[in-house]
C-alpha cells in the first residue's frame, strides 16, 4: 500500500536531476568547457561560500564562469586565470589554499595534532604494559591463592 505511493515519488525524485541541467553554453568547444568546469570547480563562490563556482548558480558565480570562459578563449593559462581571481578575491577563492606562511598552521596543524595524539597514545600504552607486568605475588599471596584454588576444586568435585 505504502509502496504504491513511495515508488512513483522515488521515481520522480530520480528524474529531477535530469531537468536541472544547466543551459547549454554558447561556446561549443568541449575542450574549453572541460577546462572551465575543472577550473571553476577549484574556485570558491564568495556568495555561497561552501560551493564552488562550478556548483553555484548565484549570479556572481555565473558572471565569473563567463569571465573564465572568455579568458580561456583569449588563450590565458589556468595559472593566469587563477592569479586573476586571487588578485581580486584573495586566496579565499581557492578551494585548495596555497602553502604560505599564513596558511602553514592550516596545512601542518592536522599532522601536528595527529603526531601529538599518537605520541600520547604510545606513551600511555607503554606505561600500561609496564604496569601490567609489574606485580609479582608475594609468598603469602601465592600460598593463599593456591589454597583457595585448591579448596575451590575440591568443592567442585564434591
Amino acid at each position: 500500500m505504502l509502496l504504491k505511493f513511495i515508488f512513483p515519488l522515488l521515481f520522480a525524485a530520480m528524474l529531477a536531476p535530469a531537468f536541472a541541467r544547466e543551459a547549454a553554453p554558447v561556446a561549443a568547444d568541449p575542450v574549453a568547457e572541460a577546462r572551465l568546469m575543472k577550473l571553476s570547480s577549484e574556485l570558491r563562490c564568495l556568495v555561497c561560500q561552501n560551493q564552488t563556482i562550478a556548483d553555484s548558480n548565484a549570479e556572481l558565480a555565473v558572471d565569473l564562469r563567463n569571465e573564465i570562459r572568455e579568458k580561456i578563449q583569449t588563450g590565458m593559462s589556468d595559472a593566469e586565470i587563477k592569479d586573476f581571481m586571487v588578485a581580486r578575491y584573495g586566496d579565499f577563492v581557492l578551494y585548495r589554499p596555497p602553502v604560505k606562511n599564513t596558511t602553514l598552521v592550516l596545512w601542518i596543524g592536522p599532522f601536528l595534532l595527529l603526531a601529538v595524539g599518537g605520541g600520547i597514545l604510545v606513551f600511555n600504552l607503554r606505561r600500561r604494559r609496564h604496569a601490567g607486568a609489574d606485580p609479582e605475588l608475594s609468598h603469602d599471596d601465592q600460598a593463599l591463592a593456591e589454597s583457595l584454588l585448591h579448596t575451590d576444586s575440591t568443592k567442585e568435585t564434591t
Partner: protein, 177 residues
C-alpha cells in the same frame, strides 16, 4: 606530578573554547580584500544621469574619494542609503556610486525616491567592473587616496558607527597626507 598531567586535557579544551569563541565572533562573509594598498582598478563608464558623459577612475586622481557599490535591488543598500545621504551633506569626501548589475531606469528612480549622495554614479550593468573590484556582495565601499590607491574596503552596509570610527578618521588622515 600526576595531577599536572590530568590538567592537560582541560587546558587543551579551554584553548579550543577560546578559538571557537573567537571564531563565532568573526563574520565569515568578510573576506579580506587583496586590493588593499593596490591601485584602484581602471574603469571608464557611463554616468547614470547623463549616459553620454563618461567617468573614469583617473578623473578622481588628486583627491580622497569613496567608491560605493550599490544597486536598486539590494536591500542592504536601502539600509545604508540614509546614512550616506546624511554623510554627503557634510561634504567631507566625494562619493562615487558604482551601480552594480542594475537597470539604469530602476537606479535613477531609486535615487529620485531616496536621495542622491553621489557626486556621480556610473553604470556597471554586466558586473564586469564589479569583478575588477572583487565585489561579491553589495553594498561595498572603497576608500581611495589621492594617488588612486585603495586604502580600505567596507563590506556590507555603512553604519553611523563605522563612519565615525573607521571611515572619517581614515579620510582625514589621507587628506592630511
Amino acid at each position: 606530578m600526576k595531577k599536572a598531567w590530568v590538567l592537560i586535557p582541560l587546558a587543551v579544551f579551554i584553548a579550543m573554547l577560546v578559538f571557537l569563541g573567537v571564531g563565532l565572533k568573526l563574520d565569515p562573509r568578510e573576506v579580506p580584500s587583496p586590493l588593499i594598498d593596490k591601485p584602484v582598478p581602471v574603469f571608464h563608464l557611463q554616468t547614470l544621469d547623463t549616459p553620454s558623459r563618461l567617468l573614469s577612475s583617473a578623473d578622481m586622481r588628486g583627491q580622497v574619494w569613496l567608491l560605493n557599490v550599490w544597486a536598486s535591488w539590494c536591500s542592504g543598500c536601502r539600509e545604508e542609503h540614509p546614512v550616506l545621504v546624511e554623510f554627503a551633506q557634510t561634504r567631507a569626501v566625494p562619493i562615487v556610486g558604482l551601480d552594480y548589475k542594475d537597470q539604469p531606469d530602476d537606479a535613477r528612480r531609486w535615487l529620485g525616491n531616496f536621495g542622491n549622495p553621489y557626486i556621480a554614479s556610473v553604470s556597471d550593468p554586466d558586473g564586469r567592473t564589479g569583478i575588477e573590484f572583487g565585489v561579491y556582495g553589495v553594498p561595498e565601499t572603497f576608500v581611495i587616496d589621492k594617488a588612486g590607491i585603495i586604502r580600505h574596503k567596507q563590506i556590507g552596509p555603512i553604519t553611523p558607527d563605522i563612519l565615525r570610527d573607521t571611515i572619517l578618521p581614515l579620510v582625514k588622515k589621507l587628506n592630511a597626507a
